[in-house]
Symmetry: C2
Subunit: 139 residues, 2 copies
Amino acid sequence: MRRRSKQREVILNLLKRTKSHPSAEWVYTEVRKEIPNISLGTVYRNIKLLQSMGEVSEISCEGDECRFDGNTILHYHITCQRCGKIMDLDGIVLQSLEERVAAATGFKITNHCVGFKGVCPDCLEQSSPERYKYKVRLY
Amino acid sequence: MRRRSKQREVILNLLKRTKSHPSAEWVYTEVRKEIPNISLGTVYRNIKLLQSMGEVSEISCEGDECRFDGNTILHYHITCQRCGKIMDLDGIVLQSLEERVAAATGFKITNHCVGFKGVCPDCLEQSSPERYKYKVRLY
DNA sequence: TTATTTGCAAATCATTTGCCCGAAG
DNA sequence: CTTCGGGCAAATGATTTGCAAATAA
């Protein structure tokens, strides 16, 4: 069973109120204002843990396996931030947005993506610990 | 001025026809079937270069700085894959999608993002070389 | 007490870079 | 020729892990 720790609480609070995407290093620097001798390893461990619990929503949508090219049917994904499972979302496509955005910005657009992050039904049930095996990603 | 090289051509062709997001390591393995003594460094250099030229659209939307929480106004971004410039896209928000997707999948959704990738007008003009200073990201 | 979490340091992994050589123009 | 691009190996940077000590339940 999971124990609470001051370190984890401070990190969670920090992430909850942070507007931009913090780097692990930045989190480390900030948290040390409250817990001067916390170690970087602990910061990494807890970010990862909080992600796997679905507590952290500040993490980016990085890793959304989105892609688009002429041959492929465009579709979007939803990723479980705990077990890493990725499901396709069919029936939603925003292709027309590309043209609108190209016109508005002057960019040569190569692709776009839509991705959702969350915790899947299976993982919501089981509160089993330490299965967080995915890399810490904040960006 | 930029010279062509067999290595770059092979890598570009491979990326063009690859459906999933290849890792640099995977690209390396594949390319070695054609050019057995290519080095991993060359693979990295060329992927990066191709990205900065807007030739590669297979790269993911990673890094889209997307975020969402109650306090913040949700908005999307477009990123120049050459100079890294990020522009806000205002006036488009797909918030209602979250509820639809939650209902359809049973996920506890923590956030979603929409991102566009391309080459910005400034970079499209200047064909100047070697300003690609961003990390290689494939995912 | 006992299982979990920490701090620390060493290990690992991905990516980048320096240098000299071979090749494209 | 004269650069540019490549191979190789060493350097860097980020993240993870092993372990003994500290701490929550």
